[in-house]
């Protein structure tokens, strides 16, 4: 038997394992969604637990996507599919996905974006970023998260702000393309921010690249994540 036949193609193994995991997650999340939407358990602790479980399931999925994306990025297999999108629709989509969970904890989600605002970006990647950041905010905010979008000069800007304690000093950074170090000790938050910075940078228009910023200029000095797309 030749050596080739025995060699394990790891990329293929990953691909088929991920395929399976995603199917499982889809069914799991859908069952949880159905269970949590039961009228009889509305506003009970059981419902909150189910929503929590759903939240964790989504986090698991996002992490999986991020890992895969970063793996592809390293192997230079990742590229962005830039299309024309309505920014308000993007923010509404992401808000809808998180609404139930935020409602259960009485967190207000505000959207501030002009209806006609059009942006050019990879819809899947950018909605992934916004989702990830909302999830960070969910863990730290007191009672409000605000999503907003606007055109600033030649960039499209998307902000995710909360009224929590803000980012710790070591996670504050300016333009991502200045290569400010990102601390992985902070767990998934660190990975999420790193992912966001990398993905933003892949958005290119002419000579301009996208970038991200974190600051504590959010609601009542809470965290504020800014995404700039060329």
């Amino acid at each position: 038997m030749s050596n080739n036949a025995q060699k394990l193609d790891f990329a293929t193994v990953i691909a088929s394992a991920v395929h399976d995991m995603k199917n499982s997650l889809t069914l799991l999340l859908d069952s949880l969604d159905d269970a949590a939407s039961e009228q009889s358990i509305a506003t009970t602790p059981l419902q909150e637990k189910l929503l929590q479980a759903q939240h964790e399931g989504k986090r698991l999925n996002r992490n999986l996507i991020q890992l895969l994306t970063l793996y592809r990025l390293e192997r230079r297999q990742l590229f962005v599919n830039i299309t024309e999108n309505s920014v308000a629709e993007l923010l509404e989509d992401v808000a809808m996905e998180n609404r139930q969970l935020l409602d259960a904890r009485n967190i207000k989600l505000e959207i501030d974006c002009e209806r006609g605002l059009i942006g050019f970006f990879d819809y899947e990647i950018i909605s992934g970023i916004v989702n990830t950041i909302i999830n960070n905010s969910y863990r730290y905010t007191k009672n409000t998260i605000r999503l907003s979008g606007e055109k600033q000069g030649r960039y499209l800007c998307i902000y995710i702000e909360d009224d929590g304690p803000g980012y710790p000093q070591k996670m504050l950074h300016g333009e991502s393309n200045k290569n400010s170090p990102i601390d992985f000790q902070t767990g998934s938050t660190g990975l999420g921010l790193y992912f966001a910075a990398q993905a933003a940078q892949m958005h290119i228009n002419g000579k301009r690249h996208g970038y991200t910023e974190t600051s504590n200029n959010g609601i009542n000095k809470g965290g504020r994540f800014s995404l700039f797309l060329p």
């Binding site: 199917n23 889809t26 069914l27 590229f79 599919n81 024309e84 989509d93 050019f120």
Partner: protein
Amino acid sequence: MKSPKLWSLQGKSILVVDDFPGMRSMMRGMLSAYGADDITDTSNGEEAIKRMHDKSFDIVLCDYNLGEGKDGQQVLEEAKEDNLLPYSSIFIMTTAENSMEMVMGAAEYQPDDYLSKPFTKQVLQTRLKRLLARKSSLRKIARAMQRKDYSHALSLCEKQLALQPGNRFELLRLKGELSIKAQRFDAAAAAFAEVMAERELPWAKLGYGEALYHRKRYEEAKTTFKELIKASPNYVFAHDWLARVYEKLEEPEMAQEILTEATEKSPKAVLRQRALAEISHQNEDLDSAEEAYRRVMRLGKNSCYKSPADYASLSRVYLQKGNNEEAMKTLTLMKKEFHRGKSGDRLHAIILEIMLYRDMAREDEARKGITEAMTLFRDNPGGLNTLLAMDLAGACYGLGLKEEGDEIVRHIVRNNHEDQDILDGVQGMMEDCGIGDSAADLIAATRDEVITLNNRGVEMATNGALQDSIKLFAQAADGMPENLAINLNAAQSLIMFMQRYGAAPEFLEQTQSYLMRVQSLNKPSQKQDKLQIAYRKLVTSLAKA
């Protein structure tokens, strides 16, 4: 004002394709929650295609990975090729993979949307809502596209664009693509340029380059595609077009190089692999050609693009390499694969087989093949297209079978009696076979036959014997599916009949099939435009009645 109706999927026919039973029942659940009451589901691609033949669906939700057999992309390709998916219907590819890989694998067609797993009910609802709204705003254009009436589709496009709609980019894209189909290349370039002025989106630049290519401005097209590849190295469509440009510039080595690069980035697209195989073969790079043809055969296994020509070409590559054994093996494989296929495929395979046997100097087998081919041909003359017929006629003459050769030549002339290039081609082919003397007479006699027949039909129509004229042209068109004048007149006699006695659905359908045939012959004419307009009026009159 109309009162807003509650959004629902009620009455929409929906097809769900997923190999995982749990996923199918989940999708049913999700869709039913939004009022869907006409859901069909199936676990594999072959079955999906069958269902789509039986019934047309408003929405198809198809998973990319379907295990053994066809994958989601192949389902989409076959459905589009077989006209099972009009522009008005929605095809969503659901996927657990990164959707970009699928975009890369795509060659000819892309779905309306990708939906990555896991997704929630709400996400499915939002996507469907948006897509349905979008399609509904384009439904008139879609109807015109369905009957290949591109000039009408274009004027509808213009009208909508004048209203400054929110989906301006989508309409401009449609306008560009339709203009290319209608062979209005300046208009196409203008539409794509309008998008590029705001943002250099890859599809716009690609379309712009394509328009340049069609206007034979190859140097400019080359620059455009090169820039596009530089800016978006993974946008493989740009490679396909750049290779075509290099072929036109007579730099086939460059074309091969570019296609090699493209197939490395996107190894799954059959048509791209085939293009590489053909150009490598042409460049006499036999090793590369062999590899590429092998990939075409492997990838094409479940694809609607599977063709006996690939097997025959590979067999010829082996012959050129002096490997007669492999050549024979490939030939046998071709016979096996296409023995029971559609009659057109079978005839195609046999003709290729005849030619290979001749190359191998195995005349007896070639003769046997001709007997078989003639039987299939006489059974269904419409199944033999001009290109293949030329090969078959040449083989007949080469083997001294003059009677059979003449029969095929008559078929060619009948289908192309007004096309001087093809008639010259026939003449040249017969001269090459050493029977040039009888060529002119045979061609002229057959052409006169068609002209007489055509004149008779026209005369019947002018004298008011419309039913006789319809019958005559319908019969003629059956045997001459590629004849422009006959098909146009078949449509015209039906239209005249309906103009006098009123439109009827079955006549309209028949008329449409002739007009679509004419459209696919790609020889635009004023008569065709006039008939399209008359046809449209009849459709409207029927709708009002």
